[in-house]
Amino acid sequence: MENILNHIGIENYIFLSVILFCIGVFGVLYRRNAIIVFMSIEIMLNAVNLLFVAFSTYHQDAEGQVFVFFSMAVAAAEVAVGLAILVAIFRNIGSIDIANLKNLKG
């Protein structure tokens, strides 16, 4: 079956995803605002989702796209929990800077 991958090549999708994933990783590493960190994690996940879709097309197989739904649902749940914890933290210390979370160490 004719598809776009014949023209662009699966490698490029992989590279794109890797780049996106790395952007996410660096976002997580360098930002201290919890919300932005969350968003960076979302970028990582979505980079993967993108790749899933690409592979799904590559293999002419729907499973990959189904998996994307799973992973989106999971990501949503995860972020919900994360935000809830964040709210609790904000109520306790009035800040969402993760650099302030250094009570536990040693």
């Binding site: 590493l29 979370l101 250094k102 009570n103 160490k105 040693g106």
Partner: protein, 628 residues
Amino acid sequence: MEKNLVLVLLLAPFVGFLVNVFFGKKAGKGMAGALGTVAVALSFVLSVYFFLQVNQTAKPIAVKLFDWISVSNFKLDFGILLDQLSLLWLLFVTGIGSLIHLYSISYMHDDENMHKFFSYLNLFVFFMITLVVGSNILIMFIGWEGVGLCSYLLIGFWYKNQDYNDAAKKAFIMNRIGDLGFLIGIFILGSMFSTLDYGQLKAAITAGNADTAKLTVAALCLFIGATGKSAQLPLYTWLPDAMAGPTPVSALIHAATMVTAGIFMITRLNFLFDLTPFVQNIIAIVGAVTALVAASIGLLQNDIKKVLAYSTVSQLGLMFLALGLGAYNVAVFHVITHAFFKACLFLGSGSVIHAMHHEQDMRRMGGLRKIMPITFMTMLIATLAISGIPPFSGFFSKDEILMTAFHANIPLWVIASLASIMTAFYMFRLMYLTFYKDFRGTEEQKHHLHESPGLITFPLIVLAILSLVGGLISLPFGNSWLNQYLAPLFSEAHHAEHHLGTTEYTLMAIAVAGGLIGIGLAYNKYLKGGYVPKEDQDIDGFAKTVYNKYYVDEAYMALIVKPINGLSNFFRETLEPALSRLVYGLGSLANGLGSLGSRVQNGSIGLYLFAFVIGFSAIFIYLFLANK
């Protein structure tokens, strides 16, 4: 029957020991003393019985009691061998032992622990019998160590005085140094010949195909053992100190019996020493030098028992000289006569000390001749004997040694003769200072002076008589009884008789003259000159060196004891904690690493994420890049 009698002979003193240990206190002092004496006397009677039997039949009595120790290449029985040599020793051990027990009943009567004293004495006699009658070297070793133990117990009998305890300890440890040599000798013999039984050893060694070098080492080791027990150079220093013990102990153990164990051992193993001339030479030299050194120290001692102690060392040296020259029978002869006169001397000095209320310094004595005539007479006889004046027993035995030395090696003869002259000098010095002139002690002592009771004088008299006539057993004319009696023990070589020729008579004359010179010098200085030795602080010059025993004890202290103690302190205070710290150090290292790690774990999420990524990258690089 015979076996039972042998057992009684052996165990009677042991039973005496047990009874005295457990019931002595309740039985009372007289009872305890009597019991101890009877036990030893019983052994003596049996010894005489067996002696007569063996003397007649010339057949040794051997009894096997039970299987004892076995090692890979041999088994040892606990067996008893009553032959000419052991019986001879038994006779004077139990005989003199009985007399000294008798003597002690009176001598120790004031001591609260008298029953203990007798139990120890009995134990000593038991071990001495064991030493003598065992059928193999290891049993001898049991007795050997056992008498050492009793010596330890008895030297330290007055245990409240730590100096005495030190002396006891010193005796034990010095002995143990020798014992190690003895043990090593036993090991070498055991592994060479797969037996330690005298008979089998003799057969194996005389078969003549043994490695001489190894034999030499073994003999040397055994001799080291003998130097410990018999107080020869360099291990002699314990014996003078051992005089801390009660005087009967000095008489029995440190003069008559125990210290002759070394001579017994070498005589017992004469077949071994005969094959190792190198060791024999060493023995002769050590003996002669010991005789001279000890005699020279004896010249200036003021403690009456110390004088006797050094004289013992010196006499033992003469015996070793004889042993080294292969004249075992001569050595044995001197052992016997020495036992008589030295026991007599010690007991006599004990009598004096008893009278003087435990004063032993001759500078505080004098003029006792009239107050204690029996003591004086008996001691005089013994002194004449030790000085080698005919016809007293010491003359014959000492003369034989000198004669043997002369025939073997003139320098040794010179040394031995010098020692004899010194002996005569210091013995008469002792007599003059003690018994002549005026009393130099305190008034109080003078007031209490008295002749000792019968229980003390009786043994003295018996021993004096023996000192007088003891020489009869081996008169230098023809083939003496002793030599014949002992002949089965020795190889043929020793049967060569002395032909009394001019040389021999000249030698005798020289020896007697030497003795007389010594006596004369002493007479001149102490009786005629009325000289009384200086107080300790006034002694100076070379005399001080001699008086302080050439500082040998101090040298040992500085060269051996101090370094070991220093090492001990070093180990205890430095090395042990260091080792300990090493172990703790490992723990601290772990703790330190832990602290370091804790610092990395600083609570920062960023760092944790960073570590994750680093770890991830490292693994990826290793897996997919580094190995491409």
